[in-house]
């Protein structure tokens, strides 16, 4: 349980966030400058906010009762946008920073290193690491301190670049294997939906909406307040052995098999991202098309915005988002409940890992 009632004066407006999360998997979204980073810093105790903050039942801030634990006693792991690794220490020394030299420390170190797959980076200095590598080392450093809560601020630059370097797959492992509760700042609604059960949408320091991720991150609402937000389709599946001469295959949890560019080893989990612009919709069954993935589904919802529309289609157990023109919506008569066929090229899927 994470209980927030944070008040903090900022340059343009006051930050005033009141929300309560039960799931331990929370996505934080909102336009740049909405106060997301300030909120994380307040929770970590790096900014002196007023109000009340409770993490897993322990109150770390209660200004009415003069409770304000210093950062070192909050046990909150913070991974800022720019990673903030200690530049004078190697990756290994960074991860070891919070640890004692005892046996227990050694085990936590090994565990964090294995989880984030940073073995090869250990002797290197932060300046020689890529942005994605730094984020992984910073996450390992935070995990090694055995936090009660993780705060992750995904760099905005990662919205467009460095798909391979994304922290997302590692975060999924942390969520599933270590079960550390987290707040994850991202600009990618697709990732947020894959990762989080609850979401917090901020706008100008205030809560625009908070609750189950699916509801909070409905594309209409998010697109209206965050022009940078992306609605990538993010699918997770298990890699299957490719047929001779054929593309790699990804089996979705629902059983459907996608043709994707090869990545990873057969039998292992893999995550692919797909831009909504790359999803074609057809009103009739498709026959003999070059796109290797054709799925039958039903329109769930149509979000209109300007000349564009984001159409949500449920197919093969996945909620797909297709970005089409308003004209296409009219011509194909796309309304909720209508059966449609999705056509997706193999190359449109991009492996996140």
């Amino acid at each position: 349980m994470i209980g927030l009632d944070v008040r903090l004066p900022l340059a343009g407006f006051p930050l005033a966030v009141s929300a309560r999360f039960e799931s331990g998997a929370v996505a934080v979204m909102g336009p740049s400058g909405a106060g997301k980073t300030s909120l994380l810093e307040s929770i970590a105790g790096l900014r002196r906010a007023a109000g009340k903050i409770a993490i897993g039942g322990e109150t770390v801030l209660d200004s009415e009762r003069s409770v304000d634990l210093p950062p070192e006693r909050r046990r909150v792991g913070y991974v800022p946008q720019d990673s903030l690794l200690f530049p004078h220490l190697t990756a290994a020394e960074n991860v070891r920073f919070a640890l004692s030299r005892e046996e227990a420390g050694r085990r936590l170190f090994d565990e964090a290193v294995a989880m984030l797959e940073i073995e090869a980076l250990l002797p290197r200095y932060p300046a020689t690491l890529s942005g994605g590598e730094r984020q992984r080392v910073a996450l390992a450093r935070a995990l090694a301190a055995k936090p009660r809560l993780l705060l992750l601020d995904e760099p905005l630059a990662a919205v467009d670049v460095e798909l391979k370097g994304r922290i997302l797959p590692y975060l999924l492992r942390v969520r599933d294997e270590m079960r550390v509760p987290f707040l994850y700042v991202t600009h990618n609604a697709g990732e947020a939906l894959l990762l989080a059960r609850e979401a917090l949408l901020l706008r100008s320091g205030r809560v625009e909406s908070a609750g189950p991720a699916g509801e909070v991150l409905s594309s209409r609402r998010l697109a209206a307040i965050d022009p940078m937000a992306r609605f990538d389709n993010v699918v997770e599946g298990v890699v299957e052995a490719a047929e001779a001469g054929g593309p790699a295959r990804l089996r979705l949890p629902g059983g459907e098999v996608l043709r994707v560019p090869s990545s990873g080893v057969a039998g292992e989990k893999a995550i692919y991202s797909l831009a909504p612009e790359d999803v074609l919709l057809a009103a009739h069954p498709l026959d003999r098309v070059s796109a290797r993935n054709v799925l039958a589904g039903n329109v769930e919802a149509v979000d209109l915005g300007g000349d564009d529309a984001l159409v949500r289609v449920l197919a093969a157990g996945v909620a797909w988002r297709a970005h089409v023109t308003r004209e296409a919506v009219r011509d194909l008569d796309l309304v909720a409940g209508r059966p449609v066929w999705l056509a997706i090229k193999t190359q449109a899927f991009r492996p996140i890992r």
Partner: protein, 174 residues
Amino acid sequence: MLPPTAIGLLLLELLRRSGPIGRLLDRAGIEVLFTWKAVAIATAVMSFPLLVRPARAAFETIDPRLLGIARSLGKSRAEAFWKVALPLSWRGILAGTLLAFSRALGEFGATILVAGNIPGRTQTLALAIFHRTQIGQDAEAFRLVGVVAAIAFAAVWLTELLQRRRGRRETAAA
């Protein structure tokens, strides 16, 4: 800044046997005036301000959030200082130390007031040069000028070197 002789006089007042600090030292059996200890105190007081500026500049270039991260990793304020702030600013501190050292080499006024000019005991290089010229040993004085110039030059050169070559890894990260 006060003239060195003025500082020297103030130190003399403080350290003399009947002075506020001198009395305590006297009771503890510590003799300071006109010993090498007085030289050390006088040169330290005179050159300390030169250490402060580069050291402070170095501390100010550290992202304060790094110290915040150190604390969120369980370190106290003092530990964060020792493990992060100090290692990241040692170049500035060392540069300041060398600068202060150069200044101390040339200190004259304050030293001569509190330590005198006793050959073999409290005579510094600066004092020795003065002394030699007074007794007409100009050649000897020039030899000492050569020594002091070499030391001062080496110190300044080292300072420049440290400030310019701010370790590859640290600048690349910034």
